[in-house]
Symmetry: C2
Subunit: 229 residues, 2 copies
């Protein structure tokens, strides 16, 4: 046991990559660091995990403190643990990504205190620590995920139009999709509920609103159904 003491001198953190969607662009929530190391640089909003705290809970806590949101989509991606990646000691970090509905987002006191901002993912060129590769890994995972699971909806309000949904896919996959094929595919899943409502106040033909039928998806999934785009 005393032999093992030397091992118990490490810490670990969680680093959630928080994705949002607005105006046709995929956004990432970053904080501007107020303290050393990497003072005044943009970083992912990570935190150390408490000794009595589960990893997923820690990621959820960081997310809640920052956004005021509970019960959002959160998924572990990869653990980064290079020796020397953190100036304070041996700290490995477990990366998560989260999908949130930006319109629900409220700045909490904690997030007002420091600088917290949405950044268009395509404009992020430099981050503190090893946060650039973490961001890339999480984005790649999201790219894969959205083709096999219906997670795109997590970025949209409950009621959305098909064009909005298509723009989510286009922003994440970084390529344009054919409107007719996209609609055909999505509607053929039978997982979109036509709400018989329309957009209001747009100066063009108003689009129909849909919602995603989570219950039906879960029921189909339990029977072996796979959502594929």
């Amino acid at each position: 046991m005393s032999e093992e003491k030397k091992f118990f001198k490490s810490a670990f953190s969680v680093d959630p990559v928080i994705f949002g969607f607005d105006q046709g662009d995929l956004k990432v929530l970053l904080i501007k660091r107020g303290v050393q190391p990497f003072k005044d640089q943009w970083a992912l909003p990570g935190d150390l995990v408490y000794p009595n705290e589960d990893l997923d809970s820690a990621a959820g806590r960081v997310l809640g403190e920052l956004t005021g949101l509970k019960d959002v989509y959160l998924e572990q991606v990869h653990t980064f643990g290079k020796v020397g990646r953190h100036p304070l000691g041996r700290v490995i970090t477990i990366a998560y990504y989260s999908l949130i509905k930006i319109d629900n987002f409220e700045f909490t006191p904690a997030s007002l205190a420091s600088h917290v901002e949405w950044h268009d993912i395509s404009t992020i060129k430099e981050l503190a620590f090893d946060h650039m590769p973490i961001l890339k890994t999480c984005f790649d995972k999201l790219k894969w995920k959205i083709r096999s699971y219906p997670v795109g909806f997590e970025l949209l309000p409950k009621k959305f139009t098909l064009t909005e949904l298509q723009k989510v896919y286009e922003a994440i996959l970084e390529k344009e999709l054919d409107k007719r094929n996209f609609r055909k595919k999505l509607l053929s899943t039978k997982l979109l509920t036509d709400l018989n409502e329309s957009q209001k106040g747009v100066s063009h033909r108003p689009a129909k609103l849909y919602s995603f039928d989570t219950a039906k998806y879960e029921q189909l999934q339990s029977q072996g159904y796979n959502f594929e785009i």
Copy 2:
């Protein structure tokens, strides 16, 4: 900094799930624990990560100590960190899976010392710690991986027959595949080199031997090619 001291009291381990393939069955390398906790129970061959050791290196080291092999296929899968998952303190573990060619496998002194055995994956019902869910998570990842990347070859000798390869896929995917369609698909990738050699000493028509063209795969992949089964 003293405030942060309380965080630096944790340890982390790596737990590689080592897959092998023999006689048509997918195998996992397990050790029988010689010490408490979980003495005399089967477990994944994990170890604590040294303070000055990278995570991937640690997983490679454990693998090398146990099997005598270097440079084998190794991939990080997921990090398990529930409070209380380890009796000695806060220990989170980073799970890896590895694919090795069983015919290269040699017991090293380290592995002779303790009990080390290949177990047919379908027969494993109970493991020490939280190693059952770790095993399941790694197996699920391998199932996914083999459909999108040519990793099945890692489990076979350099020269193999198409039937052997098919059996690898069937063992991992846990379902039977059509012989003609499987061969058509694999040969259409143009990534198998026909060695113009045949099996020797089998009491039936001898099968042709193939090898996987890694260089060609990497070249195609860099041009955006996706291997899909």
